[in-house]
């Protein structure tokens, strides 16, 4: 399972990536949408875990750009918001939304479910 994690909160992205790696997930992480597009242009991923609100290219726009590169890519959104409204205004195509702080076991379970 190869996963791309994108979050502008650098400490969060770094630690979550380390924890996922300790659990056997092959993970790359970047802090911006631009870097994510560059990564996805050179490597193939099974899933991308995207923060919704980021400076520059936000998660929703990034989903569209990543899907252009790989229509089969599964998308999971992370959000600092937590209301139902926030989730409803997002992408209809995303596999799942997870509210921060996340439970790592739940994230891995969802990754396994969406990748199959």
């Amino acid at each position: 399972m190869k996963v791309l994690l994108v979050d502008d909160e650098k400490k969060f992205a770094t630690m979550l990536a380390k924890r996922l790696a300790l659990r056997g997930i092959d993970i790359d992480y970047v802090y911006t949408g631009d870097d994510a597009i560059a990564k996805a242009g050179t490597q193939s991923y099974d899933a991308a875990v995207l923060d919704v609100k980021m400076p520059g290219i936000g998660g929703i726009e990034l989903e569209r750009k990543l899907k252009e590169l790989d229509p089969c890519l599964k998308i999971i959104f992370l959000t600092g918001h937590g209301s139902k409204t926030d989730f409803e205004t997002g992408s209809a195509e995303a596999a799942c939304y997870l509210a921060k702080p996340i439970q790592i076991d739940e994230l891995i379970k969802i990754l396994r479910e969406v990748i199959g």
Partner: protein, 222 residues
């Protein structure tokens, strides 16, 4: 209960809600980092218990991150507290530098916020008597306009210039030549008028100015 009440039409309440939602988002980010750091510490502890080699540097980094994020959390809560108490009195004396500083800090939580250069403060503090909450709303709107004008990679300047006859001028510069005269919307002008603030274009600075009176005239409902 009257289900037709639309609280979003109340500018004051909408601003209060918007800022608090933004603060809650920031606090969730902080807690998410602390949660991941604690989780990573637990992972490392489990590995050590099984006799696996762990990097001591990772333990140090996790501990430092937790301490730093707790400090960030305290700072955010202090800002939230100051903001919340700004509604306690309809009119009070405020130091403009403190108000601008708080609004810069709170607006920086917005994902599209750019770098703000807050010029050195005047030697004599610019103190005005005004509705602090409405002034905050106006400055926040000014900052959001400036951020939207420049984009997240840009930089704007904010400065306070006390006026010889009392009051002060707050300048917002670097918004781009085609945006300078576009601040503000009718709603924003109404908020400014309610506290006697005059909004002027500052074409040479590619921005605009808020002329804040020393004593705001009667704070009217709008």
């Amino acid at each position: 209960m009257n289900s037709t009440i639309d609280f979003k039409d109340n500018d004051d309440l909408a601003f209060f809600g918007k800022v608090n939602a933004s603060i809650s988002h920031e606090l969730k980010n902080i807690l998410a980092i602390i949660s991941e750091a604690a989780g990573l510490l637990q992972d490392l502890t489990d590995m050590a218990a099984k006799g696996q080699k762990i990097e001591l540097e990772m333990l140090t980094t996790c501990s430092q991150d937790i301490v730093e994020e707790i400090q960030r959390g305290f700072a955010t809560i202090k800002q939230m507290n100051t903001f919340s108490h700004s509604i306690d009195e309809p009119v009070k004396k405020v130091n403009l530098a403190d108000v601008v500083d708080l609004m810069i800090a709170l607006s920086k939580f917005l994902s599209f916020a750019c770098t703000v250069r807050f010029d050195p403060l005047p030697e004599e503090p610019a103190v005005v008597s005004t509705c602090a909450f409405r002034l905050q709303n106006l400055i926040y709107r000014a900052l959001v306009f400036a951020y939207e004008s420049t984009g997240p990679d840009g930089q704007i300047g904010v400065a306070i210039h006390p006026q010889p006859n009392g009051g002060a001028q707050i300048t917002f510069s670097g918004c781009g030549s085609n945006k300078a005269g576009k601040f503000a919307s009718d709603k924003t002008k109404k908020i400014a008028a309610s506290i006697g603030v005059d909004i002027r274009e500052a074409r040479d600075l590619q921005g605009f100015e808020l002329i804040v009176p020393e004593n705001a005239e009667a704070v009217s409902q709008h």
